[in-house]
């Protein structure tokens, strides 16, 4: 077996027993990236020098018997949405193509403190807006299982690099499904923690009340390992929770006897591919065999989730992205050319009013040139939905729906411990297939936005493949701060199946 096929937990064992060094291990992942990333395109930047230098430092420390962090020597790929001091952090946007933050995100600092090897930054939909990683300003990422297909998004780079064995652990962020949906498309695990479980300080905001960073890996055990490092209260993030962090790995081995698993059957009937629906049924059956009791539950307001989400997220985004104005941080348009016909014909937004002041003109051109179409679409949606006269009809109403959805979950969790259902209605689609139809793309988030709206933890776990061999994932939801239950169920499932150990042929 190659080092790159091993899990992070196995690699920690090899490092501890000196079966390999951190430098050797890091080198094999760097080599794997070099051989495969021209076809996958998972990374936006690779820090070969920095990674090898930290690996060497860890090897020296280990040899000297010094203290080592829980991820000592393990490469971690980080979505390019986090600030790293002096590290180019682009958010997949032309707007931040040259942004080198002067500070570390708390999550990045925690990974460094755990002695993880920060191997590179992964590709994403611009500002995390998208479900296919086609909206990256730099290049699309391809699904390692079929490079004609999307890896999902917006954490598509992180999911793809795990499937491609380019890194054993990765970090994603999830605003409406951006960790879980690409995890399902790429056949890996993605966990969206409870809102407030992982600090958002230094995570470039898309929709602040929904954004949450989380771990991605191939096994539940590795996911637990990574979550244990990044979770915890952070005084720099007022919304981060003061709830103590559990020992996520300790509970993994407990059997599932007596687990009440809620099944929202009503969800699976319409618009869900047959292969997906039957894979979820089989997963539920397996849970029953493992000792769980299946209970039918209902989430009556589930269907309104997408509508509420696509109001609330753009509203917050329109405000969060106002700072990219060409004056302070980010892309600034060059000195004004004379406006006239022919200037950015494909983009009606580029044509300004004749009486714009030079300041308004600079704002307009910087934002027109710096942002991609999907970002502009959502900024306009959000600006509209927050406007006087429309706010009650859209934003305020969406908040009411959000509360009802949360109440649905609260009611369901009175009766069950976890909920099971599909992560996505379909398997990975072809590149370009939905980019002309944003609505079809948005509907792919049908099963994932609920956890964000309600602030709950949810996980996607690989559980099968369709006729074309494309991965399928099931999703579990848990009550707030019950990540431990999600990981235990996922681990018990993986102990009884081998979907997680399958990988695509790439070379």
């Amino acid at each position: 077996m190659e080092l790159t096929d091993a899990t992070a937990t196995e690699l920690l064992g090899k490092l501890a027993s000196r079966a390999c060094s951190a430098v050797e291990l890091t080198r094999s992942f760097l080599d794997r990236i070099a051989r495969t990333d021209s076809s996958v395109g998972a990374f936006l930047s690779i820090d070969e020098r920095g990674a090898l230098a930290s690996a060497a430092a860890i090897d020296r420390r280990r040899a000297a018997g010094g203290p080592l962090g829980p991820l000592a020597g393990i490469p971690v790929a980080v979505k390019d949405v986090f600030c790293g001091r002096g590290v180019r952090s682009t958010c997949g946007s032309r707007m931040l193509a040259d942004f080198h933050p002067p500070y570390d995100a708390t999550l990045v600092a925690r990974l460094r403190a755990a002695d993880a090897i920060l191997i590179g930054r992964t590709n994403m939909d611009e500002f995390a807006m998208g479900s296919s990683t086609e909206n990256s300003a730099f290049h699309p990422t391809r699904n390692p299982w079929d490079i004609g297909r999307v890896p999902g998004g917006s954490s598509g780079g992180s999911a793809a690099c795990l499937a491609a064995r380019q890194a054993p652990l990765a970090i994603g962020t999830d605003t409406g499904g951006s960790i879980r949906q690409p995890a399902a498309f790429c056949g890996v695990i993605g966990l969206k923690p409870t809102y407030g479980r992982v600090s958002r300080h230094g995570l470039v905001a898309f929709a602040s009340s929904l954004d949450q960073a989380g771990p991605m890996a191939r096994t539940a055990e590795d996911t637990a390992l990574l979550l244990g490092v990044i979770a915890g209260h952070d005084p720099s993030d007022s919304t981060s929770a003061r709830v103590p962090v559990s020992g996520y790995r300790q509970a993994l081995g407990e059997p599932l006897n007596g687990l009440r698993l809620g099944v929202v059957r009503g969800q699976w009937t319409e618009g869900v591919e047959r292969a997906v629906a039957s894979a979820i049924e089989r997963a539920a059956d397996l849970f029953r065999e493992l000792g769980a009791e299946l209970v039918d539950v209902d989430l009556p307001h589930h269907a309104y989730g997408i509508a509420a989400y696509y109001v609330i997220a753009p509203c917050e985004a329109s405000s969060n992205l106002a700072r990219y104005d060409g004056i302070h941080v980010g892309y600034r348009a060059a000195a004004a050319p004379r406006r006239g016909p022919g200037a950015a014909e494909d983009d009606p937004g580029a044509a300004g009013d004749a009486d714009d002041s030079p300041l308004i003109d600079l704002y307009r051109r910087s934002r027109t040139e710096g942002f991609g179409l999907e970002v502009k679409r959502r900024v306009m949606l959000g600006t509209f939905a927050l406007s006087a006269g429309y706010q009650d009809r859209y934003y305020v109403k969406a908040l009411r729906v959000r509360r009802l959805i949360r109440e649905d979950y609260d009611a369901a969790f009175q009766r069950v411990d976890l909920l099971i259902g599909p992560t996505t209605p379909t398997t990975a689609y072809r590149i370009g297939e939905r980019s002309a139809d944003p609505l079809a793309m948005y509907l792919g988030d049908l099963f994932t936005v609920g956890a964000n709206l309600a602030g709950l933890p949810a996980i996607s776990v690989p559980c099968g493949a369709d006729g074309a061999g494309l991965p399928i994932g099931f999703q579990l939801h848990a009550p707030p701060f019950q990540e431990e239950s999600l990981l235990r169920a996922a681990h018990q499932y993986q102990s009884a199946t081998d979907w997680h150990s399958r990988g695509p042929e790439l070379e």
Binding site: F82, C83, S89, C91, L96, F99, P101, P102, Y103, A105, R200, H201, G202, L203, V204, A205, A207, S208, S209, P235, S236, D237, S238, T239, C315, E316, S318, S319, L321, A322, R323, D325, I327, H328, V329, S357, L359, I360, Y363, T383, L386, S387, A388, Q391, Y395
Partner: protein
């Protein structure tokens, strides 16, 4: 008092910078006057990924103010984003409070129209906390059109205090501001320094034209004008006076009313003493307020409000009342003492209590103590004379050890040297002159000045002043009034 056919209606919006060491949502130094852009961090620069963390001290000061203004404090308060684009606003939004402000429905009592009589109550619509923006500096000299931005001020805590339109004259506007500033300084909430921008005032002004002067026989409201750029209370007063006259003229000429004309913003030109229409700011008037998702709502339990109220310093209005009730001061004296600040009031009370003569204590405080403080431009906290020492000095005057005018000199010496009254007197060679010595001195002067005596006898009574002058030269401690009395007796007119 129906000299003019309209009623003046004014509401004031006051922004004060809170006296916190750090900014509202980050740990940057909030002090005034540092070189541009040296008091910044990712949070107040609005860098991607940076998050606000509320300054608990700022909240405490705001709460104190809300309670001191008798406002209703909701048990839950939230933050909102006010969205607009401007170069001095790096995030593209300002964190403020929209529909759940820190306090509502407060009140501030101000002096009545003629300085006496019952106080006027100005209702306070709302008090809320928000972050300040940076400062744009436009450099247009030598043909350049540079704009520079200093973000030191960005994120400093501001308290906005909005009055109801209850103010009925320019004079009343000034009285309201004076009382508000006094209260805020008593509360240690702000230094209210208008020059450094820690207190800013905008005034909303219009007229209600009386039915008998209006064409339809009903009250007509002129369009509301917001006046900006007033840099002193005096300017506020002048700007309102100007605006009232201007609005009446405009109404007479055009008949425009609040219903037909939009609200206008005008700037006060301090040199020309006029208000001028301001160019519309390059920003949307729709601020698209929504709850700030990066901050949690603040829950204010009743117990916390009670605790802040319990620790509240005595408010100026209450002290004025107490100075009248307990110490018998008239309104003007009480007001003057209250305006000198908390420490001055405490000093007065100490002197008045020990001396047992509050009026005399008040006179000394208002004249001599205040004079030396003003001469030295210092606060009473730095006065070298303890209240007990001042009382000792005044008692010596009572005992005839020195005259009142000498006492002023001694006090001056005590202030300069920090010595006790007795030491200062000794150093100045002051001792009381006993009556027989004084009589002997007067007899000697009468005997040796026959011409003066003759003049006095001839009816030129002012000639006796020369004898008093000589007595003072011979013995500086001689009490002039005693000398005068004895000499007149001896001459026997």
């Amino acid at each position: 008092m129906n000299a003019v056919p309209y009623e003046i209606v004014v509401g004031l919006e006051v922004h004060v910078q809170l006296l916190t060491r750090t900014k509202l949502f980050c740990r940057c130094d909030a002090s005034f006057g540092a070189p541009p852009n040296t008091r910044t961090c990712p949070v107040c620069l609005g860098l991607p990924g940076a998050l606000p963390v509320m300054n608990g001290r700022a909240f405490e000061l705001a709460l104190r103010t809300g309670i001191a203004l008798d406002g209703e404090i909701p048990d839950r308060m939230k933050w909102d984003r006010k969205n607009y684009f401007y170069p001095d606003l790096p995030k593209g939004y300002q964190i403020s409070q929209f529909d759940l402000p820190l306090a509502r429905n407060g009140r501030l009592a101000i002096e009545g129209e003629h300085g006496d009589g019952p106080p006027r109550i100005i209702r306070i619509q709302r008090v809320h906390l928000e972050e300040d923006a940076g400062k744009s500096m436009h450099d247009e000299h030598e043909g350049r059109r540079d704009s520079r931005i200093d973000l030191n001020r960005a994120g400093t805590p501001l308290l906005e205090i909005v009055s109801e339109p209850d103010i009925r004259s320019a004079r009343e506007a000034k009285a309201y501001l004076t009382e508000l500033k006094l209260l805020l300084t008593y509360l240690d909430v702000s230094d209210c320094n208008m020059q450094e921008g820690s207190l800013r005032v905008d005034a909303n002004v219009n007229l209600h034209v009386r039915p008998d002067a209006s064409p339809h026989g009903s009250v007509i409201e002129t369009p509301i004008v917001e006046i900006k750029n007033m840099n002193s209370f005096r300017a506020v007063e002048r700007a309102i006076e100007y605006e009232v006259a201007r609005q009446y003229d405009e109404w007479t000429a055009t008949g425009a009313t609040r219903a037909t004309a939009p609200k206008q913003t005008r700037g006060w030109d301090d040199r020309e003493e006029v208000t001028l229409a301001m160019r519309r700011k390059e920003e949307s008037s729709d601020y698209r307020y929504f709850p700030e998702p990066d901050l949690l709502p603040v829950v204010v339990p009743r117990s916390r409000i009670d605790a802040v109220a319990a620790e509240m310093v005595e408010r100026p209005a209450a002290i004025r009342e107490r100075l009248g009730r307990e110490w018998g001061l008239d309104a003007a004296a009480a007001d003057l003492i209250v305006h000198q600040g908390r420490a001055f009031v405490a000093y007065f009370v100490d002197v008045a209590r020990e001396l047992g003569d509050p009026r005399r204590a008040a006179n000394w405080m208002q004249q001599d103590v205040l004079r030396v403080l003003n001469e030295r431009s210092m606060g009473i906290g730095r006065l070298a004379v303890a209240p007990g020492e001042l009382v000792d000095l005044l008692r010596r005057v009572d005992r005839g050890e020195l005259t009142r005018s000498r006492a002023k000199d001694v006090f001056q010496r005590m202030v300069e040297t920090g010595r006790s009254a007795v030491d200062a007197m000794r150093a100045m060679g002051i001792e009381s002159v006993d009556r027989s010595a004084l009589e002997a001195l007067c007899r000697e002067l009468v005997d040796s000045n026959p011409r003066i005596v003759a003049d006095v006898k001839a009816g030129k009574s002012q000639a006796i002043g020369a004898l008093v002058g000589q007595a003072k030269r011979r013995n500086p401690n001689a009490d002039p009034s005693e000398v005068l009395r004895i000499c007149i007796e001896l001459i026997g007119t």
